[in-house]
């Protein structure tokens, strides 16, 4: 019973204190709320930027884990190409790999300049997070069309006059000196520095256009495999393909996604910088709150002495001062997290920071929880010293104070 009334009494005391000193509390908590908002926002920003970076990396090198398989020698004949295709398809089936694509580079020109044209299979779009500004990515139906189909970049499309794709526009290509009109079915988003024609054609169309996908290079094969056990699976795929080829043929297989570039976390430096900024912000917040709470306790010495003379134990005084600090900072933490969430939703900010991000996730829960935990921790740290000072107050001296 004494425990319940003790807790209720401490809460009532803390609430009375917050109410009576609301201006002081408000001023001290503004600092905490701003610190928590900055901290939460920084953590959330770090996570979202990482997501953004991940997507950019995945667009260029494929989603983790992407394995790229190639041969040392150029494909000389269609029979060689068919053998390699069949060996790769067999390996994919054996190891239950759902996402695969052949990749070739087509030596093409368009709009009077070199075009960066890749021959790929339909899975490539999902494996590389290809973003479309208009139209659609390749599907199985496109393989049945009588004309080659192409997905071009925005820059190229704009130079065609940005025709509606429902009107079945075509793009003129010159491949190995021969001209061909390809049906445009989709438009990829262009980055700010794209100033050349680029696009994708279906791998089989590319092979036809360039007569066996260009005679001077071997095709590549990509597979999107689980990260767990990826290294073993890469070697297994390589061996499986190797086994299908004539003796002496060399097959190379390696992971080419960004996570395979090294053991070090590619975002480590960014995380350290962001973490350091957040820590500095937090330390400043704690110091300013500690300063205010210490000054406040010095001003409350007589009150603490009076309370002690009317039966407040040292433990009760300690708990009440701590509770005031923790309750205050917890409220400030809620406000700070709310500010961070709102700041992250400013459209202009989103456009500036996360341009091109496909899956912009909601505000990271982890960042919000961290903000709240930190605010309570800040309250406990900032309340500890004043609480110890309050406990050491001698009732006799305090009453005379």
């Amino acid at each position: 019973m004494r425990g319940i009334t003790g807790l209720a009494g401490a809460i009532a005391e803390a609430w009375q204190e917050l109410r009576v000193h609301r201006m002081r509390v408000l001023l001290s908590l503004i600092g905490v709320a701003v610190s928590v908002a900055a901290l939460t926002w920084t953590i959330a920003m770090g996570q979202l930027l990482q997501q953004s970076q991940d997507e950019l990396m995945e667009r260029s090198s494929g989603r983790p884990a992407t394995v790229t398989l190639s041969t040392a020698d150029p494909i000389e004949t269609a029979a060689d190409a068919a053998l390699l295709d069949s060996a790769f398809a067999d390996a994919a089936e054996r190891y239950g790999i759902d996402w695969t694509s052949r990749v070739s580079w087509v030596d093409a020109t368009a709009l009077g300049t070199t075009a960066e044209l890749r021959g790929v299979d339909a899975d490539y779009g999902e494996m590389h997070r290809v973003r479309l500004a208009a139209g659609a990515w390749f599907s199985d139906v496109d393989a049945l069309r009588l004309v080659p189909v192409v997905v071009i970049n925005e820059w190229w499309w704009q130079r065609l006059g940005s025709p509606p794709l429902e009107s079945h526009p075509t793009a003129s290509l010159a491949v190995s000196g021969a001209s061909v009109d390809a049906l445009v079915i989709g438009v990829t988003e262009s980055g700010p520095y794209d100033d050349y024609p680029a696009g994708f054609v279906l791998y089989d169309d590319a092979a036809e256009l360039a007569a066996a996908a260009s005679a001077d290079q071997a095709p590549q094969y990509e597979a999107w495999i689980p990260i767990e056990g990826a290294d073993e699976l890469v070697e297994a795929i390589r061996s499986s393909v190797q086994a299908h080829l004539p003796e002496g043929a060399e097959v190379y297989a390696e992971r080419t996604d960004y996570l395979a570039w090294g053991d070090e976390n590619p975002f480590l430096m960014m995380q350290i910088v962001i973490g350091s900024i957040a820590s500095v912000v937090l330390v400043i917040g704690v110091l300013s709150l500690l300063n205010i709470t210490l000054v406040t306790v010095r001003h409350r010495i007589r009150e603490i002495g009076v309370r002690r003379s009317f039966g407040a134990t040292a433990g009760r005084v300690f708990f009440s001062v701590m509770l005031e600090s923790v309750v205050g900072t917890a409220l400030a933490g809620v406000v700070g997290v709310a500010i961070a969430v709102m700041a992250m939703r400013v459209p202009a900010l989103q456009d500036a920071l996360f341009a091109g991000i496909e899956d912009l996730p909601p505000f990271p829960i982890g960042a919000a929880v961290t903000g709240l935990v930190v605010s309570v921790g800040v309250g406990a740290i900032a309340g500890l010293l004043p609480a110890l000072v309050a406990v050491r107050v001698s009732p006799i001296d305090a009453i005379r104070y």
């Binding site: 209720a8 002495g305 002690r308 003379s309 009317f310 039966g311 407040a312 433990g315 006799i396």
Partner: protein, 231 residues
């Protein structure tokens, strides 16, 4: 016996000097419902004695018993709780909590109580303020009250937990003669009705003369004086 001091001595160490002996072998016994006054000049050790009797301070030597139990053997928390339950203080400078209403000031000691006293503290504080004649001013801040009214709030605060001992340190020291007399009438009356013992420390002979027993503290030595001499 409610309160008994046996050979209380209080010494304070002073750097590069002989220790200062504030109290020298003080003996005092106070029974329930008694009114005892202690007179003395400034610096005679009156407040130190009051702090020891109120268990806020500990004697250097000697023994204090409350209800027959030695206070020194109690743990600190238990002593604090016993003080809250059994002792009410009235200070010369009132020591009301600033920016809290009269009701909140009077209810404050009940924050450290348990049971109905804790849960009904606001209503009990209102009733106590009625008893001291401040029923109309329960929601006033101390800064808006006169000196006499502030001391009446302090008396209400001292009595809210129905203590068995009231310790009043110069209760009229900050008041004019007329207001001081009215405050002492009230304190006497309420303490008497409640059956609480009242120990008043004062340098005012008129206040001291109200007590059933009077003592003089001089040079740290406590001696009983006849009431007629005080008067």
């Amino acid at each position: 016996m409610l309160l008994e001091a046996r050979g209380i001595t209080r010494t304070v160490d002073i750097v590069d000097a002989e220790p200062l002996r504030i109290l020298r072998g003080v003996d005092l016994a106070v029974d329930a419902g008694e009114h005892v006054s202690i007179m003395g000049r400034s610096g005679s050790g009156k407040s130190t004695l009051l702090n020891i009797l109120g268990m806020l301070d500990a004697p250097t030597d000697g023994e204090l018993l409350f209800d027959g139990a030695p206070v020194a053997r109690m743990r600190r928390g238990a002593r604090d709780r016993m003080r809250g339950r059994n002792v009410g203080f009235v200070f010369q400078q009132f020591n009301l909590l600033a920016r809290r209403t009269a009701r909140e000031n009077v209810a404050m000691p009940l924050l450290y109580a348990s049971g109905p006293g804790f849960w009904h503290r606001a209503a009990l504080a209102g009733s106590m303020l009625e008893r001291v004649g401040l029923g109309e001013r329960v929601d006033q801040l101390p800064e808006r009250l006169s000196g006499g009214e502030q001391q009446r709030v302090a008396i209400a605060r001292a009595l809210i937990r129905e203590p068995r001992l009231i310790l009043a340190d110069e209760p009229t020291g900050a008041l004019d003669v007329e207001t001081g007399g009215a405050v002492m009438d009230l304190l006497d009356d309420i303490a008497h009705r409640a059956g609480a013992a009242l120990v008043t420390i004062t340098h005012d002979p008129h206040v001291a003369a109200r007590a059933g027993r009077a003592y003089r503290l001089d040079g740290g030595v406590l001696a009983e004086v006849a009431p007629e001499i005080v008067r």
